[in-house]
Symmetry: C4
Subunit: 248 residues, 4 copies
């Protein structure tokens, strides 16, 4: 078996200047944004990527039908421009696999005309965040002003930070190929799936891409999550009062 297997379900000529990567990561922030955008921009699945560097398993869907663990490519048209998406449920389960997969993703990107990659993710801070910033990194210095103008923050720079996995390698290996890379990371606690952070990230990404996207469903999920957290906190406070009343 080859290390990575790519199968395209359509082979018409694609020229897509932009690729958005939203693979799983901290708070599933990147995945939430990418999945939301695919839905809003009516993305169409055009390819599947399987690999022996993914976990050796299948997923069983609601019909009881199995699906090999894979990553997927979607494309959508917006204002005459083609946008590609790289999404899925897993990243590599080995260090070498991360490199091998990232190079393959870049091969695909080059083949399809990609000139810029937006790598989406979360930035774990270990506590709940009221107004999540969107922390950023770029793989070429000239990209920074544009990202700042769109509301992205570079306050995380300079602390010797690392970006691990697909997002990091798409920027790092993409630079050698002349593909621009912008990594957007929504601040998030790291403890929960975080649609609120995803909502902030989406705002910056929309401005960068010059498109308008409906946020409603993401904001609804964020509101639901806020409510759930509030309920848990209230329940804990109630229990605290109860315990105190036993003492008092």
């Amino acid at each position: 078996m080859e290390h990575v297997r790519v199968s395209f379900s359509r082979d018409d000529n694609i020229d897509a200047p932009i690729l958005i990567e939203g693979l799983p990561g901290i708070g599933h922030v990147g995945k939430l944004v990418a999945d939301h955008l695919i839905h809003e921009l009516q993305g169409e699945k055009i390819g599947e990527i399987s690999s022996l560097h993914f976990p050796p398993q299948v997923i069983v869907d609601e019909q009881g039908v199995t699906h090999l663990v894979n990553n997927e490519l979607y494309r959508s048209e917006k204002d005459g421009r083609t946008v590609l998406f790289l999404v899925g449920d897993f990243q590599s389960n080995s260090a070498e696999g991360h490199y091998i997969l990232a190079e393959r993703y870049l091969d695909i990107a080059e083949d399809l005309g990609v000139r810029r990659i937006y790598a989406l993710g979360g930035y774990g801070v270990g506590h709940l965040v009221e107004s999540p910033r969107v922390l950023c990194a770029v793989n070429m210095e000239h990209l920074r002003p544009e990202v700042e103008a769109a509301g992205g923050s570079f306050e995380n720079a300079g602390g010797g930070g690392m970006i691990v996995g697909a997002s990091g390698l798409l920027l790092g290996l993409g630079e050698a190929r002349g593909i621009e890379g912008v990594c957007l990371m929504g601040e998030t606690s790291g403890y929960i799936v975080d649609p609120k952070s995803a909502d902030s990230l989406l705002a910056v990404l929309s401005r960068l891409m010059g498109i308008e996207v409906d946020h409603t469903s993401l904001q609804q999920r964020a509101a639901d999550m806020e409510q759930m957290i509030a309920n848990i906190q209230e329940a804990e406070e109630a229990r605290g009062r109860e315990e105190l009343s036993y003492i008092g």
Copy 2:
């Protein structure tokens, strides 16, 4: 050394539409059923598969003779049809190895004319089960009615379940080759080798294959196991009463 080495002990032309996989797993349910069927259908060993993805060891038999760790292929004839079996004592000891071995199993299956695979296993639930269901998954949606008609259940579908290892990959990778795959998993505690669950699984599999197989030896093992569990429970209750009598 190649990753996987296959040696056939007979090379007459085989056309076997069905392959039954019963490699080790939860409760050894799949292995119990496959070994039972090989015995009942007078299966004959036709091949051995060794691999550097198996543990690096030999097994010493009762004569003190060593045997390289391997998986084995058996075949049997039943009502004019040839059935293949894939059995053994080990699965891969690495994630990549699982993929490499599964692709090779499928190569063999294709060579020998296999058009459907029954992948047998256990479904661990963490407690003893009075009447074990046979939970199922298929790799093509059209297979489901047939499996349900034979008594297989799809109640596990929809929970985001995974099937890990050889059983999962034979379905997932087999689908791309157009080989039908049905995974049958006998409910089992996961704590014991479980012939009772195997007996339930055998009933569903027999109906699916349209064959009749003697269950006696499997049911005898199940009865022995039930008796053993009853003895343990009785002993524990006796000890419980004794401890109470110290107090009372």
Copy 3:
């Protein structure tokens, strides 16, 4: 870098029917016997084997000179017969590496005319052993009577035992090449380097090979080890009495 690199320091034609493997293992029993035999039979180093499956390090000798971690081939002449030895300080540090190295050892063995391999090791029993047996396994059934006649025991057979690593694979993979394999395992606690067990093993091996070897240095090491253990036990008993005297 190739997976395994073999360099021969002499290239005259060698025809050696017997290979003795004494790589590190339980109680270093096999290594002690092989090193003793190389010394007694005035073995000469003829080759070195390095591999990226060994630990990535060098050993610093007494002169401060580094030596790449490797395994070594020795040869000696005894009564007109050539005997090969495979010794060293390490085995593979991965499962795949064990297979790759064992196949390469067998390539070398075939090239040099080897028709029988004696794989030496320890058999850990978890307690000190007064009269260590030499427990055995063979890779072809016809070898057993000869091994029993030489004093080897097969009492360990039948318990579903495994032989892991180079010793096991030389027998398991050697069988497919038609090379006879005899594994001799000296009973040992597993807690100490065990020259006494090695002494027992050497007796069986000498009879199998029909040679006479001086045991003196091995027996001296065994006596020293016995004395050391006796001293430790005495010291512990003395401490025990002392502690009791505090109480009494």
Copy 4:
């Protein structure tokens, strides 16, 4: 992706008899010395080495720009001689990777005319060291007198010591290519980044290379570190006295 990727930023003919390796290790001693020398000798970066055996990540610099994890080659001219440096932030994250990278480093060294390698590192002793010795190993016996004359110690030899990773393999694998290798290890506690140990190492290395290098910045860092340690010790003693005063 190839295992190791080397890109040279200049391709003029280089003939550099000496390579200094200062990759990360115990106390970062080797790295401190190599980085200091590059600075003092006005080294110029001539190449980058990336590898799928490095961690799968990018580093974010103070500008928010990402850089693929890599090792770097520098060169400098001193008294008409060219010196190469191999430095970076990571070593391999697998055993096999260490071998693969070391062979590649040696390929580069051979291409650029290297005839001697100085591998720099720390020698962890588990406690603070007043006057750190520079413990040494060589890959050819004739190198020892020269190293001793320069103040290097071989008191560590003979204890069955190991040198792990790039430093060890450059000597071990270099020897087979006829490249002289000298490993210099500054004694260090192993608990802190240790510029004092680096200062000792630099003294020996300078004498070996017959060059004079300004130590000021390294000695300043060492003095700062000493002061920091003294402050911590004082604070601990003060706390000790305070705790005692509670009791007294």
